[in-house]
């Protein structure tokens, strides 16, 4: 049985626990032995992204100590996973097991697709999905081809959903434009952040999205905040919640 250390982003732990539970249940449904080490807190991305690497360093250390011995580490977030795989170098380079830690830390959909080799998910989800391609998952983890690059298309998220019965996908006019969350950007450049989010929502509305989903709850939290303030009816669900609901 595959053993996994479950890494839950700090804001998911505190604000969207149902996404953490859904991730847990999805993995268990695929017969994964999941352990959630309670000592974990945060990967340090908010500090690192502000340039405050001194504050991020102890958090990277903490993560490394907690997770280094698991055979796999799985996280329902593209940006937190990218932090470990792409931005921990300056804190943990040369430490025993760090290279391996990078290789065995996965975002949830990647893990399902690449490690568990899940090709089809049985289930019924008769809604029109607006898939939001969160930027870090897209351009840092390369979970799908970005529209900027001229390469053959691929997608590690869509097939998991496409196999669901009744599901359809909204065709967006800008398939992978940033939603505007960007971490502390959402506060420090509030005007631009919200205009970006509203433009994404307008794109989804025009395309007929009923359920807006993605791999990063941070993007979804920002978009949901805008939707609820405007009183709009589009539902927001993390991909783990969709998968858990049907399994």
């Amino acid at each position: 049985m595959i053993k996994v250390g479950l890494f839950i982003p700090c804001y998911v732990d505190q604000l969207y626990p149902q996404v953490g539970m859904a991730t847990l249940k999805v993995l268990e449904k695929f017969k994964v032995d999941v352990d959630y080490p309670l000592a974990q807190t945060c990967c340090g991305q908010p500090m690192a992204n502000a340039g405050c690497t001194a504050e991020a360093a102890p958090l990277a250390e903490k993560f490394y100590r907690i997770f280094k011995d698991y055979p796999y580490v799985v996280c329902p977030s593209g940006s937190c996973t990218s932090m470990v795989r792409n931005h921990y170098e300056e804190y943990l380079k040369g430490r025993p097991g760090f290279e391996e830690l990078k290789k065995k830390t996965f975002e949830l959909c990647e893990f399902l697709t690449e490690v568990l080799k899940v090709e089809k998910i049985e289930g019924h989800f008769p809604y029109k999905i607006g898939l939001h391609q969160s930027c870090h998952g897209l351009r840092e983890l390369r979970l799908a081809n970005s529209s900027e690059r001229m390469i053959p298309p691929f997608n590690k998220i869509k097939p998991l959903l496409a196999s669901l019965e009744g599901i359809s996908f909204a065709e967006l006019s800008r398939p992978d434009e940033c939603c505007g969350f960007g971490g502390t950007f959402a506060i420090s450049e509030e005007a631009i952040s919200c205009m970006m989010g509203k433009d994404r929502i307008a794109d989804h509305e025009n395309a007929g999205t009923e359920v807006l989903t993605g791999v990063d709850m941070s993007c979804l939290m920002h978009l949901e905040g805008l939707l609820r303030r405007a009183g709009k009816s589009i539902r927001v669900m993390h991909i783990a919640e969709i998968l858990q609901g049907v399994l």
Binding site: N49, R139, E140, M150, F185, I187, R229
Partner: protein, 456 residues
């Protein structure tokens, strides 16, 4: 003012912000379409990046080679360490030739050095001949985009400007009509000019030649009528061989405006018969950037503007929000290098989405450099106090699991109890246009502990 303040101002005119965003997205979309037609697009990008990396690694040798060849062909070569020296050199050449009227084609370098006001203060008439540049020159504004200088101006505004300066009909705003008026006006300037000044898109080390790319033909009109041609270049414009142009020319116009090539790609080798060619090679801070491993790849830049067209922040805030000669993602790396105190907000004017890195024809790791700049700014203590404090406190809380758990529990207990008018008060920046996330009773770890406990 910082970028967020200027951006918020720009966005206040929602209709204009949307119009600006759509106009630039359209250019990005054109780029995508034409790049799709090049099967080796990603290979070309990689090769272009390697050519630039190689050139920078041997820059002193290539510069000597370039100067030697340029001189052999009859050009005169000058060197300027900084903007002041550049301006003095250009003025010196113009003065010694008795130049009163100068026509210029696009040169971001001369913008960077603030050449125009320097020359005008010394009695010269300086006319920017690129239509977009002329528009902003008449409007007494800096360009807002390095390739599309007047992208922020609506045609009605331009019509009004031309009515005042070129005596076009009041209220006329048809682009063809206005362009025709500019054609006549600028042709007059070309014919009366005493000298022409151009930028340099590429300088070829092995031949001593210069390449200038335009759609309008203004660089060529400006340098084939008057006998004096001054070409100004940052030293990073150098490429080793003429054949390297095959790579860069295939990438440049496609990335910039979605065309396979600009209308005119002019190759200058030595002066015209009976004329003079002066080449001014400029440092102005580039050598400092070259010394920094994290930032030197910014010198690969071929000034295509693709990063600006794709940047969701640039499109919605406009080039003037950056208050920097070169705005957008690349500008947010180059300008802080020049003056971190003035430009501290630029590397933060980004969600780090990475789109710029993926469109850059020379594969500059733009969004990684923006992050590296944030680290540099924190080190230089140029972060606003509120951010520093938040990171300090946040960092401490997250280090200690008990502190994190208790903070979370407290927030989830307290926040739902606050009346809306207090919760969504002025202090709550998130809450201006967004609802806060729901603060649940239990965190995931509390639910997990129960679940695992109940299993035992």
């Amino acid at each position: 003012m910082s970028h967020p303040d200027k951006a918020a101002q720009f966005i206040r005119d929602e209709a204009k912000a949307h119009w600006h965003d759509r106009a630039l997205w359209y250019v990005r979309a054109k780029r995508d379409r034409v790049a799709q037609g090049v099967p080796e697009w990603e290979t070309l990008r990689e090769i272009a990046a390697q050519i630039k990396a190689h050139t920078l690694s041997k820059l002193p040798d290539y510069l000597e080679m370039f100067e030697g060849n340029a001189k052999r062909l009859g050009a005169q070569v000058h060197w300027a360490s900084n903007a002041a020296e550049h301006n003095e050199i250009v003025y010196g050449i113009l003065k010694s030739h008795g130049v009163r009227r100068l026509v210029k084609s696009k040169s971001m370098l001369t913008e960077e050095c603030h050449l125009n006001p320097f020359l005008e203060a010394r009695g010269l008439e300086v006319v920017d001949t690129d239509l977009g540049e002329r528009i902003v020159q008449l409007a007494k504004e800096p360009p807002s985009h390095i390739v599309l200088p007047a992208i922020h101006k609506r045609k009605e505004e331009i019509g009004e400007l031309f009515h005042r300066h070129l005596h076009t009909e009041q209220g006329a705003s048809d682009p063809a009509y206005l362009t025709e008026a500019a054609r006549g006006h600028l042709r007059g300037k070309f014919l009366k000019a005493d000298a022409g000044l151009t930028g340099v898109n590429f300088a070829i080390a092995e031949t001593g030649g210069l390449v200038v790319c335009t759609n309008e033909g203004n660089a060529d009109m400006g340098t084939s009528l008057p006998p004096l041609h001054i070409a100004c270049m940052g030293f990073e414009k150098l490429i080793p061989r003429a054949q390297d142009l095959g790579v860069f020319l295939r990438l440049l116009a496609r990335s910039a405006t979605g065309q396979p090539i600009t209308t005119y790609t002019s190759h200058f080798h030595g002066p015209r018969a009976g004329g003079e060619l002066h080449i001014v090679i400029v440092d102005n801070g580039r050598s400092q950037i070259l010394q920094r491993e994290e930032f030197r790849r910014a010198l690969f830049c071929i000034r295509c503007g693709a990063c600006m067209n794709t940047c969701p922040v640039f499109r919605r805030s406009g080039g003037h929000s950056y208050e920097s000669t070169v705005p957008g993602p690349i500008g947010s790396i180059l300008s802080p290098a020049r003056d971190p105190r003035k430009y501290w907000s630029l590397p933060h004017a980004s969600s780090l989405c990475g789109s710029c890195t993926d469109v850059c024809p020379v594969k500059i790791d733009l969004h990684h450099q923006l992050l590296a700049w944030r680290k540099e700014l924190a080190r230089l203590r140029l972060l606003p106090l509120s951010k520093r404090m938040a990171m300090n406190i946040g960092g401490w809380v997250l280090r200690y699991t008990w502190a994190y758990e208790w903070s979370g529990r407290l927030a989830r207990w307290a926040i739902p109890k606050l009346p809306r008018v207090i919760l969504y008060g002025r202090w709550n920046v998130w809450g201006r246009q967004r609802e806060l996330p729901p603060f649940p009773k239990e965190s995931f770890r509390e639910m997990y502990k129960q679940k695992v406990g109940s299993r035992r």
